[in-house]
Amino acid sequence: MNNNITSKEKELNETLKKLVVARIEANMSSTLKLSIGSDGSLTKSQMIEHVMGGDNIGERIIQTHLNFMRAQATGQLTTALNTV
């Protein structure tokens, strides 16, 4: 049972990584770098490497994408944008 959950979680995690990589590929020019504090500034390919590698920086990048997607899906973003 636990093995099942773990494998499903792993599968979900891999899907999430692929989704974020696809978003980075589609939505960011190669001339841009992302500054993420003391972790330095990352090129598009470095961002993708961190996401696929699943390290702390990759997790942070995934989290940033998820937060934005969640805000879009829940209407939080629209509500906030309607205030300005």
């Binding site: 939505n27 020019s29 500054s35 504090g37 330095g40 500034s41 934005f68 973003l77 300005v84």
Partner: protein, 214 residues
């Protein structure tokens, strides 16, 4: 305590270089309004200089540009300038704006119930995008400018006489306007710009006294 600003401007990597370059509009505003300020540039952005300057100038507004973690903020070459439980008491009774990652989550917590101090910072990493074709001349980087113009609204608002709450709110509104503008433009980088602005919008928090002014 005197009316004025102390600002740290480390420049030891490309991130702190950008933070320093885009802070010029903050000190320009001080000059315009004849508000005294003291800059701790490059090597001078260290713990000893910071503590000594704060003690001697005794200005009531502090801006910390640098890398951060929950309990500390660094200066030049990533050396600690302020640490929770060690020297954070020197920020007491002042307005502090920390443009650094995470600091509001730990260090800022010291001020959450403090009615005599105000700490504004980020409880997640402060992020920005930069155009690598402008890396040798950051001030011409129109992409990075979007993130700094919106976060600079906060200290500039305080310098203009707004309360900490008004300045924070205006800065966050500017971030939302930036998201709107980026999304309506709909070019290749729009989504990335909107995402990072949303990150900074969500993570920018005010702790302590909301009605403090310079």
């Amino acid at each position: 305590m005197k009316k004025g600003l102390i600002i740290t401007l480390p420049q030891s990597d490309d991130v702190t270089e950008y933070l320093a370059v885009f802070s010029k509009s903050i000190t320009d505003e001080c000059e315009k309004r004849a508000i005294k300020f003291h800059e701790l540039k490059r090597e001078k952005a260290n713990k000893k200089e910071f503590e000594t300057s704060l003690k001697s100038y005794d200005y009531n507004f502090v801006i910390l540009n640098g890398h951060g973690e929950e309990n500390r903020i660094t200066g030049h070459q990533n050396k600690t300038i302020i640490k929770k439980g060690e020297n954070n008491h020197i920020l007491n009774k002042r307005i502090t704006y920390a443009r650094s990652c995470w600091a509001a989550a730990g260090l800022g917590g010291c001020y959450s119930r403090d009615k005599t101090s105000c700490f504004i910072g980020y409880n997640i990493p402060f992020m920005f995008l930069m155009d690598i074709t402008r890396a040798t001349n950051p001030i011409k980087d129109k992409i990075a400018e979007i993130f700094f113009e919106t976060s600079n609204r906060l200290p500039i608002g305080i310098i203009k006489g707004q309360t900490t709450n008004q300045a924070n709110s205006n800065s966050k509104k500017a971030m939302l306007k930036g998201i709107k503008k980026a999304l309506s433009r709909g070019d290749k980088d729009s989504q990335a710009i909107a995402e990072i602005l949303w990150n900074n919008y969500s993570g920018q928090v005010l702790l302590g006294n909301k009605e403090m002014t310079l």
